[in-house]
């Protein structure tokens, strides 16, 4: 009786897991499948199969990929610079307005990307009007926008990595003669390492795949990969786009696997 119940429960759990995996996996597999169609248009069934679309990525999207890599690298650097000290401050210090700052730092996650893009665009236009600057369409504006959307992740992961850290270790370091900055450098930051690496990874992925900010903020000459893909789709529907998507997923996947060898991501990201 209980045996049958346990079997039923096991089957139900297995089914749910299978559905979950299918929901994530099927579109991915389908994309991989599409990316090897030997067709100019996506027709089913295909005439044949080819890997020719993959080499074509560099020729068609090389520039945008390079732009996106630079942009994401800048966004990662910027968000670490803001987010890691913010995380340390929020977790270690008591000050007025702490709750508000904490909310503000995490708020960009809750605002739809398209609204955020428009808002930042309007802000930059307003600044340009007042100061006669030309932030609108400049790389700087785009980078700042990306720092804004990636910082919440860095802050959150930095905070998470400090929750389990024993504060007494910092006090011990101070008692042993470490100046407050030396305490952060020698004790706090090493303890945060997994969180910082995971935060950088998240920031990179969020920035790399972001379309909405680029739509509003990128200059005519500088196209990011998501924008380039969108523009390409307006005129072509061929397996090249699928190949780009697969390459992107594979890139992130490799990054995850490599990082997991250094830090146990599962322990940081919960």
């Amino acid at each position: 009786m209980t045996d049958a119940l346990a079997r039923l429960e096991h089957a139900a759990v297995s089914l749910l897991v299978a559905v979950g995996v299918a929901l994530i996996g099927v579109p991915l597999l389908l994309t991989v499948y599409l990316s090897v169609f030997d067709e100019k248009l996506i027709l089913f069934p295909p005439r044949g199969y080819t890997l020719a679309w993959y080499p074509a990525i560099a020729a068609n999207f090389g520039g945008p990929i390079w732009n996106s890599l630079q942009l994401s690298a800048a966004a990662v650097a910027g968000s670490l610079l803001v987010g890691v000290p913010a995380g340390i401050g929020l977790s270690r210090l008591q000050f007025r307005g702490k709750g508000m700052i904490s909310t503000l730092l995490l708020a960009p996650i809750t605002v739809p990307g398209i609204a955020l893009g428009l808002a930042v665009f309007i802000l930059l236009v307003a600044i340009d009007e007042r100061l006669g600057s030309s932030l609108t369409g400049a790389m700087l504006g785009l980078v700042l926008g990306h720092v804004m959307i990636t910082t919440p992740w860095v802050v959150r992961l930095a905070l998470a990595s400090l929750v389990t850290h024993d504060r007494a270790a910092e006090e011990a370091a101070a008692s042993l003669g470490a100046h407050p900055l030396a305490v952060i450098w020698r004790v706090t930051l090493p303890a945060m390492r997994p969180g910082i690496i995971a935060g950088a990874l998240f920031a990179f992925v969020i920035s790399f795949e972001n379309l909405e900010l680029a739509l509003f903020l990128s200059s005519p000459g500088v196209t990011t990969l998501p924008m380039a893909v969108l523009q390409y789709l307006e005129y072509h529907v061929d397996p090249l786009v699928a190949a780009v998507a697969v390459a992107q997923v594979a890139g992130v996947g490799v990054l995850l696997v490599v990082l997991d060898r250094f830090v146990r991501l599962g322990q940081v990201v919960r």
Partner: protein
């Protein structure tokens, strides 16, 4: 290294409207091990953190060899601290942990290596120098923490509940080890604990704290034999504390109307509190001529070396009585329900007035010759 003298001068620390440390003054002599003892929330840890410089006092002064250190940040105070949680640096090896304070002092590599070597020998962990803290047992981690604190040749060693994360078997060993090291090195030490036995085992002198105040300072034996307040009597000797009223005589009248016939005669009148240690009470059958108070046995527990009786002397009042459980001195055991008489000697009777100050007795009978119990 010459040991330093520490002075706490009317130290006050508030948290909100609560006085966590309420005007505490202490003198710790060079080379002395002073234990701050009290229940959680009594202010002992706050006091230690004030000395370490992790928090600043609202009032009062802290002096090391006469120099005020109260404005110095922790990293300039030259104090070695051992935490309850060990607080080792998880990413550094045992040797690097011990070297940390020396690196911060920019001591050259050769001298640092020599000092680390010496410390590892001291704690007998030479073989584990390259291990990470998480690869060590709790006792080993605590020894590394001690070595790390001692490596900088601190002016003061601060121990914050250093034994409470260790299992019971290890605790006594570690206590002896710390005490020996402390004595060999002659380092002035303050230790915080809530464990009375641990405090007695290690201290030169004890400071019993309660509600942010000092109840009594003294050698373990002095506190045991001459408690200054009912709180100290209960905390150090585990004394039975009985509250009532006295009217210039030798009867303590309890709230329920019952009365305890005191050994001594007291001149005071008003609220009074009686404290008697469980091991100084003798049990006899009810009706005995020298009964201080009578009651009924509620529980008799044989613990091997000792026997404990819980005797109910009032609706809300029980008294714990403890005596030898083995050998020729073993006391008679009484079954639950037996009516018994309680008696004790003059020197084991401690009476306090309404403000918890000790009351002196004028003995009405010559103090019985009786062995004094040392715990």
């Amino acid at each position: 290294m010459s040991a330093a003298a520490l002075t706490l001068d009317r130290l006050v620390r508030r948290f909100g409207s609560h006085n966590a440390v309420d005007t505490i003054s202490l003198e710790v002599a060079p080379g002395e091990l002073m234990v701050l003892l009290g229940p959680s929330g009594c202010g002992k840890t706050t006091t230690l953190r004030l000395v370490a410089g992790f928090i600043t006092p609202d009032d009062g002064d802290i002096r090391l060899d006469g120099q005020s250190i109260v404005t110095l940040p922790p990293h300039k105070r030259d104090m070695g601290i051992v935490f309850q949680s060990y607080a080792l640096f998880p990413h550094l090896s045992v040797a690097r942990n011990i070297a940390f304070g020396l690196e911060m002092r920019r001591i050259n590599a050769a001298a640092t290596a020599a000092r680390v070597e010496e410390m590892l020998r001291l704690i007998r962990l030479e073989a584990l120098a390259a291990r990470l803290p998480r690869q060590l047992s709790g006792g080993q981690q605590q020894r590394v923490a001690l070595a790390r604190a001692l490596a900088i040749h601190p002016k003061l060693l601060l121990l914050d509940e250093p034994l409470s994360n260790l299992d019971a078997a290890l605790r006594a060993d570690m206590a002896r080890e710390i005490r020996l090291l402390q004595q060999v090195r002659g380092i002035t030490t303050i230790m915080v604990t809530h464990d009375q036995a641990e405090a007695m085992a290690m201290a030169d002198r004890l400071v019993v704290m309660h509600d942010g105040r000092v109840e009594q300072i003294g050698a373990p034996e002095a506190l045991h034999l001459h408690p200054a307040t009912p709180f100290v009597a209960r905390f150090i000797g585990g004394s039975n504390v009985i509250r009532g009223r006295i009217d210039a005589g030798s009867h303590l009248v309890l709230e329920n109307g019952a009365s305890v016939a005191l050994v001594g005669r007291y001149h005071a009148a008003g609220s009074a509190t009686l404290a008697v240690r469980p091991d100084s009470i003798r049990l006899g059958l009810a009706g005995a001529p020298r009964a201080r108070v009578e009651g009924a046995v509620e529980l008799c527990t044989w613990l091997g070396a000792t026997v404990e009786h819980v005797v109910r002397i009032g609706p809300e009042l029980t008294v714990l009585v403890r005596g030898p459980g083995l050998g020729p001195d073993a006391i008679q055991r009484h079954a639950a329900g037996t009516r018994v008489a309680l008696d004790w000697a003059a020197e084991d009777e401690f009476l306090f007035d309404g403000d918890d100050r000790p009351l002196a007795a004028t003995p009405t009978e010559p103090a019985a010759t009786k062995e004094i119990h040392h715990a």
